[in-house]
Symmetry: C2
Subunit: 382 residues, 2 copies
């Protein structure tokens, strides 16, 4: 396929050395599912790590060998000749620890019980993901990534990489992200979790054994989240007050079935999500989001928290993103400027809300492309 | 009590003439619960109708005789010497038809079955509320209200009064409102309804007979709505990332119990609401909100839709209200200006989001007071 990494298959890597978690708990061993695109060069200095957002996975680019309709979630960004050019870079997509697309998570077997972990799966912090991922870098013999990059939660992971694996990140690319959640962000997460936990099919997190799952709660959670991914104007433009299959005289139905297009869209998104995503993973990831706050150990001083970071930074935000508005990115930028990091910041005027980071916008892609071209030049990757 | 209307008791008014509803259905008879404050003058021209928002009631001001801790929801606004001065005006608070504080609603007895209406209670439109309320005006012998006033949904009712009862509204006061819901507004309503309807205790709306109620779903619905009532900054100011009872070393709990103050606040609000509010009423009112669109009959032209309105208008919006932002109020204002109505518009710079319309802000109250003083002068009520 032109301009694509083609058909790709994931690999599972098992790590037998126990992983100490931020919570104090241990994982005796874990597996991470990864995909790679492009070729690791001899110097092993052309590695790029892509960190995924809440519902993402290792399947960043190309066509899944297991399902030829399944295109990677950032396929417009990663591939031969694309902004993250796999002719030059060796790109790794990793499914986060605790997620539900192959890596060890709540649905995996707990070695102590031989049953699914369920509610007993340990809570994870973003720093735990970074530590788990660092072993993937070791596995590939990558001492330092040319870039670690992500949007939204993925951007927070990239930031955490730059702070916690100081010498292993040459460039850190943080898109549509934030240095910590606001009270409103936490509030939306909490409502989503309540919807899941109060679903009678949740069974305290141990629903696997009951052969059921809290689909209704997870669907509501996804609907809530989805509203925060789109801007008010974008929703108005896409759906407005358009009715779904109105009756002949256009009158309302006067019931609680689908009346407006926006309802149809949200229900579809919610139901689709509840079929493929694991509710325990949803809880775990939203909690990790809540907890992330590098400045917690520096009395709220983000500059001090970012002081260990040596990487060069590209920070990008989108004007209509009300989940993680540009002001949150600017907090990161100000702190890094004070610390003397090399930093580029771009605030893109785009109407698509938070989801803009996933979309194909030529200005956005030109910026990423330009930044990676400079990396390639500096590392003589051409 | 100083500056209060004192202890008040509601009255129920029964209307035996059938009410034709916008949906085409009929209510054979209905009751409305009202409270009144102040004295209706001989000319019966000092009447003020207060329209409530989603969770409001007829209990606008004073102390409830049934519960001395129950102060009216707009007690800071209505009373002797207050902005809506009950020494001059005769103020009526009405519980909307379909609500759950005494007026006929889904929990009332269906005369055809002698069982609670439940899912069979007819859907209502805002215009139906206005028509039902007009009979209350008749009951008191009020041909024309000195003012009809409301915030949020109450503002939409006031607007509907001005359009549909052209000669019965001298002044229309529309606060923190909108001429119609946006796609995002509808989206939040729809998610709330899904949370309720997918609660197994909902039983298709006929939960009264099962002696249960969909408390979990209603609680989630309220939590979602509550987020939209506060501004992002206000939440940050009130709660920030403050932990609830942190452990001695301040570390996180690493679980899904309450960790942050904002979670505690939202759960409390959700649970409280689910105890006193009826889920069917919540569905009914959010649907009436979705449906309201005076410009539906004029091909989206709000100016034409407002053409029948003869009232003088005061329109107020709050800068940080992201549920019904100032731009929505300005749509109303622009249409009314084109129509040549007398209109005052104030956009208040206030940090409290949508909820600002309920709060005691001296600039806000001074504007309302001034407006009512002018009404009193014009009507020689002093």
């Amino acid at each position: 396929m032109h301009n694509s990494v083609g058909i790709v298959s994931p690999i599972n890597i098992r790590f037998n050395e126990p992983l100490k978690l931020t919570s104090g708990q241990f994982l005796k061993y874990y597996e991470l599912t990864v995909e790679t695109y492009g070729i690791l060069n001899e110097k092993r200095n052309n590695g790029v790590l892509i960190c995924h957002a809440l519902n993402g996975s290792h399947h960043v680019a190309g066509i899944s060998s297991a399902d030829l309709d399944d295109i990677g979630w950032w396929d417009n960004m990663v591939g031969p000749g694309k902004p993250v050019d796999t002719n030059k870079f060796f790109v790794i997509g990793i499914n986060n620890l605790g997620s539900c697309f192959g890596s060890t998570g709540p649905a995996s077997i707990n070695p102590d019980t031989n049953l699914p972990w369920g509610a007993d799966f340990p809570m994870l912090a973003i720093e735990d993901w970074v530590n788990a991922q660092a072993r993937v870098a070791d596995y590939f013999g990558i001492k330092c990534f040319a870039a670690v990059m992500g949007g939204s939660l993925g951007g927070m992971q990239a930031l955490s990489w730059a702070i916690n694996c100081t010498d292993r990140v040459l460039n850190c690319i943080v898109i549509a992200s934030t240095p910590r959640l606001s009270a409103q962000n936490i509030a939306f997460n909490e409502v989503s979790r309540r919807a899941i936990i109060s679903d009678p099919d949740f069974h305290g997190g141990n629903y696997y054994a009951k052969n059921t799952k809290p689909s209704r709660g997870l669907s509501v959670a996804r609907m809530i989240a989805h509203i925060t991914y789109l801007s008010d104007n974008d929703m108005a433009r896409k759906f407005g007050r358009t009715q779904c299959k109105p009756s002949e005289n256009g009158s309302y139905r006067y019931d609680y079935n689908i009346e407006f297009e926006v309802e149809s869209y949200l229900r579809y998104q919610g139901e689709k999500f509840s079929r493929y995503f694991d509710a325990n993973t949803y809880l775990l990831i939203t909690r990790a989001l809540d907890y992330f706050d590098p400045s917690r150990s520096t009395n709220g001083d983000l500059r001090l928290a970012l002081l260990p970071a040596k990487a060069n930074f590209l920070v990008l935000s989108f004007s209509t993103d009300w989940r993680f508005p540009p002001a949150r990115s600017r907090e990161i930028v100000k702190a890094l400027l004070k610390n003397g990091n090399s930093i580029s910041y771009v605030e893109l005027d785009a109407p698509y809300g938070h989801d803009a980071f996933l979309l194909n916008d030529s200005r956005y892609h030109a910026i990423i492309r330009g930044y990676y071209n400079r990396i390639a030049q500096e590392l003589n990757l051409n």
